[in-house]
């Protein structure tokens, strides 16, 4: 296991709970592009962990590795402290991990309920879809999210607005997540009301004990909702903050490389101990 979890957890008196999900020096390359260069990351249950970083920092790649979409080249993924191989999206689902992907990953020709229940359909007579019940549950999930869908629920999501489509993806993830929910820029296309609802939802699922991973470029929003912030730069984590430790300027410094305080970045290992003092309680 990496020193990051041990050194951060033990001196303060062993933390009661293990991280819900954690990556240790994860690497992933696409041809010559090194998207992840030994990236460590952790998200604790009952916390909102924001993941921030510049375009191309590797945030989506990290999320996809934890979602079973990409097979990492090296490093480890731990769920509740146990190493797991998330070799496919099915494995992630079985672990209670759900994701709102940046590209949403919806089937545009299908209606909202079919998308929300895709792969987990409610059945009648074992092989038939219980479309009515799926629609009903989708509608109440939308109501919770404050999504006013003007259209008939039967229309394909291709005819939805960008924000409505995003809501479908969020509704789906929220419906099935039991342990970890990862949201890759979930509010990018949302209106004010829907954004507030999503932030509310984030707090609700956090209070239910789930680990929420929240990616956003909206830094004031991040500072507002996150219990912890982890900053990625060029495929590694460079900084981590608890709530209240980072203001906008510090966050921008971390994103742009002017500030680093992370222990697990191989390059920063030498000065790790002193810097870490400032981060951990």
């Amino acid at each position: 296991m990496s020193e990051s979890t041990i050194t951060t957890a033990s001196p303060a008196g062993a933390r009661a709970t293990l991280p819900a999900i954690e990556t240790v020096r994860l690497t992933k390359s696409f041809g010559t592009v090194q998207a992840l260069r030994g990236c460590s990351f952790q998200a604790n249950p009952g916390e909102v962990t924001a993941l921030v970083g510049d375009n191309g920092a590797g945030k989506s790649t990290l999320v996809k590795a934890m979602a079973g979409v990409y097979d990492p080249d090296g490093g480890q993924i731990l769920v509740d402290g146990r190493e797991v191989k998330i070799t496919s999206p099915q494995v992630a689902s079985a672990l209670g991990i759900e994701t709102v992907f940046q590209d949403l990953a919806l089937a545009p020709d299908l209606d909202a309920a079919s998308n929300v229940f895709l792969g987990r359909e409610l059945r009648m007579l074992r092989i038939l879809r219980d479309q009515r019940e799926m629609r009903r549950r989708t509608a109440s999930q939308f109501a919770k999210l404050g999504v006013g869908l003007v259209q008939d629920l039967r229309v394909p999501v291709a005819s939805f607005s960008g924000g409505q489509r995003q809501s479908v993806a969020i509704a789906r993830a929220a419906m099935w997540a039991r342990h970890v929910i990862m949201m890759d820029e979930p509010t990018a296309a949302l209106g004010v009301i829907q954004t507030a609802k999503v932030l509310e939802l984030i707090h609700t699922v956090r209070d239910q004990g789930l680990a929420v991973i929240f990616i956003s470029h909206n830094l004031p929003q991040v500072i507002e909702v996150a219990d912890r912030i982890e900053v990625m730069r060029l495929g590694v984590r460079v900084a981590r903050f608890r709530r209240g430790e980072a203001d906008l300027d510090l966050l921008i410094d971390a994103i742009s490389g002017a500030f680093a305080n992370d222990t697990s970045d191989p390059g920063a290992a030498g000065r790790a101990d002193q810097l870490d003092e400032g981060v951990q309680p």
């Binding site: 999206p89 109501a143 008939d152 005819s159």
Partner: protein
Amino acid sequence: MSRSDEPQMQGIETDTWQQLLRRLRSAPVLATFGFLLALMVFFSIKAPGKFNTGDNLTRLAQNVAILTVVSVGTTFVIAARGIDLSIPSGIILGEVFAAEALRHISVTTNGVPGKAIDVSARDTNAGYILAALGAALLAGLLIGLLNGVIVAYLRVPAMIATLGTLGAGLGVALIIRHGVNVASYALEPVANAHVIPGVTNLILIAVVVFVLGVVGLHLSVFGRHTLAIGSNEEAARRVGLRVQRHLVKVYVLGGLANGFAGFLSLAYFTTTSVGGHTTDNLQAITAVALGGTSLFGGVATMFGTLIGVWIPAVLKNGFIIIKVNPYWQMVAVGAVLVLAVWIDQLRRRGQQR
């Protein structure tokens, strides 16, 4: 949960008549259905007492039965954003396998030893028929499995993969039969007898297959997964569908439909047709596309496919009856196909953002 705290949103409750009407109006399949009805009315007026007779309509139904079976399978394949050009080889291998099965069953008729393939329609029995059916389905299964594995796992484009199995399958059929057809009356009752008075079994079978197709595509989880994969394969994968395995199942389903059509063809025409059925793939794809199923996957209707099967058949039959050169049917079908898909494209472009 009580009713009152549920959100008011359309589409959750059962349709009201108004909603149903609105849905129908927005459904492209209705336009095609209207066109088919218009054609039938036109020919009925032009040739009263000839086109619109029970006999003629039954004959029409009989003529389209085998293509209906094939097109039901093809609808699934195209819904998944695939294509199956190997239909003729599935059909002919189905016929040939069925014939071979019959050729290997020894029978004694009135004390004379022989083979099941040579028995008359009167002397046949369920055992022979089931053996032939099993063999035909096996042929369809094999070719469908091959298609599915090549497309889903080897990632060869479906057009090329099934073009390959088309040629290879026809070759195998010719090798097995040494290029000669064989006749058999053993299966004739399957097609030409009546379980229901006035409706030949062939028509009945086509209706049953169609209904199974409707349930399979529109009401079952399998059908929904097929459409999801056709709509966005990556999204289907990310929610945990086993996309490759499902695609294999879809091609196997298509193959089984083709093999079954071969069985029906042998029963109906009482001979194998090595060298025949060569345009059945194009006819099936035409029917599916005419019906409003998108060749880009994700959107499909089984009712549309049925209409798409009937339009060319009605045109041909009607032209013969009103003494227009029946080759005009080919021209008309070509024009209607392009027109129908164009209109559908316009509609979709208007709908999508």
